[in-house]
């Protein structure tokens, strides 16, 4: 089992420790997650799947809670579409 995995966040590569959630990758990438109705940036708040503020699109599926999904090699994370 590799100790590091690589995902992309809006096309940019991010290396994280194996077992990290996508929320961790977002923080390491310095990227906000979802945008509010008024366009304000949101990010991980509760980090336990309750607040839905850390939603991102993962492999084309929108509105996934990044704090509840583990990073896998090659995973594509987007917040711009």
């Amino acid at each position: 089992m590799p100790e590091r995995v690589t995902v992309t966040v809006n096309g940019a590569r991010v290396d994280v420790a194996c077992g990290s959630t996508v929320a961790v990758a977002m923080i390491l990438a310095g990227q906000p997650c979802r945008a509010s109705v008024n366009g304000e940036s949101r990010g991980p708040l509760c980090a336990m799947g309750i607040c839905f503020e850390c939603c991102v699109a993962i492999n084309g599926v929108p509105h996934r809670r990044s704090c509840q999904v583990f990073c896998e090699n090659g995973m594509e994370v987007r917040t711009d579409g």
């Binding site: 109705v37 939603c55 599926v61 929108p62 509105h63």
Partner: protein, 376 residues
């Protein structure tokens, strides 16, 4: 004449009551609009908000078509947060039997100067690619639209106030009869004319009124922009919504400005509590996925219920209540109150002011039920 000096007291500040207050005030009558909670807080806040033409009966068509044209002329004055979107309705036909109904509907609308477009399977697929394959086609009604009802009710109430109407919120009404509204805090509001616009709770204020609660469920999803472009309704809706006794569900989805999708619909008689009924909710969502399978992978943000004010003949009650010369009704709009609020206000105020209504009012007069009872 009371010291308040009101000519009209309207009980119920849902969209129907607010529209009536606006119409009375703009015609120069002194009006007060009363609600136990807030403006647009009952069925108005719970409903989908469609501005649609329907043809269950000639009278229903006349009122919805008239009202839709009133909404279209009001549209330039509506602020952005009313979210009026003329997205059009597509009546979805699953099979050839339903396509026959599409053609009948198209002819009916065409004879009444309403433009529609009959869609074949491929055209339907182009307009709404997320519908399942192998549907027969549909009928596009381009003038139909949606709006956000609580804000629309607020705008109507504000317009009424700008024309001198008074608003009394947060106090329940105990009784309304013989020119007097008795409030639960003990004070009385007198007016020459009283209007019961209390929706599904109207019978509590006017005993003998044949209005029943018809419960509905709705679900709203997270934002999925461009997934859905039109309001979609299954043609089987007609069969389902017509069943006057059994619980029923039908596929009805709407795109909202935010990219959210509003999913309905259910109809239940005899369910008096506001709790979400998970059995009927899952039937409703199952039905929606039979038409749009990808809805199943979406996240729902919120689920809620509301109560339509249903009459035995599915037409609203607009006009004088027999037995009390001061009392008029504006209730019983079932699932069409957002659309028909404006037409209701016009023909109610026409009746009271002696103006000539623009459509025949007989089908909506409350006395029609009394007549039926005599002959029954």
């Amino acid at each position: 004449m009371s010291d308040d000096g009101y000519e009209v007291a309207i009980v119920g500040a849902g969209i129907v009551g607010a529209a009536c207050a606006d119409e009375f005030a703009r015609r120069g009558l002194r009006v007060i609009l009363i609600d136990r909670e807030a403006v647009g807080s009952g069925a108005t806040a719970a409903g989908m908000g469609h501005i649609v033409v329907m043809d269950d009966s000639d009278a229903q068509f006349a009122l919805t078509h008239y009202s839709q044209r009133l909404w279209q002329s009001l549209r330039p004055e509506l602020p952005e947060d009313v979210e009026y979107d003329q997205c059009g309705t597509i009546w979805v036909a699953a099979d050839e039997e339903e396509m026959a109904e599409v053609r009948r509907k198209a002819d009916y609308y065409s004879e009444r100067n309403l433009v529609t477009d009959v869609l074949d399977e491929a055209q339907l697929k182009t307009l709404e690619p997320n519908l399942r394959p192998a549907l027969a086609g549909g009928l596009l009604v381009p003038d139909d639209g949606v709006l956000y009802p609580p804000c629309a009710a607020r705008v109507l109430a504000e317009r009424a106030q700008q024309h001198g109407a008074k608003l009394q919120l947060g106090c329940a009404v105990e009784r309304m009869e013989q020119g007097c509204v008795q409030m639960s805090d003990g004070h009385e509001i007198r007016a020459e004319f009283l209007v019961n616009a209390a929706g599904a709770v109207a019978p509590a204020l006017t005993p003998g009124l044949e209005v029943k609660k018809r419960k509905g469920h709705l679900v709203i999803t997270d934002r999925y922009p461009k997934f859905l472009r039109h309001q979609l309704v299954e043609l089987g809706y007609l069969k389902n919504a017509h069943a006057v006794t059994a619980d029923s569900v039908a596929f009805n989805v709407q795109p909202r400005r935010t990219g959210q999708i509003l999913i309905g619909s259910s109809r239940q008689y005899g369910a008096e509590d506001k709790e979400v009924d998970h059995d009927i909710l899952s039937r409703m969502l199952q039905r929606s996925q039979e038409y749009m399978p990808a809805l199943g992978s979406m996240s729902a943000m919120r689920t809620w219920t509301g109560f339509r004010a249903a009459t035995p003949d599915k037409l609203p009650l607009i006009g004088p209540w027999p037995g009390d010369k001061s009392l008029f009704l504006a209730t019983g709009h079932e699932g069409l109150g957002i659309t028909t609020s404006l037409g209701t206000a016009r023909i109610l105020v026409d009746q009271i002011t002696g103006a000539q209504p623009e459509i025949p009012i007989e089908p909506y007069l409350p006395s029609r039920n009394a007549k039926e009872q005599v002959h029954a």
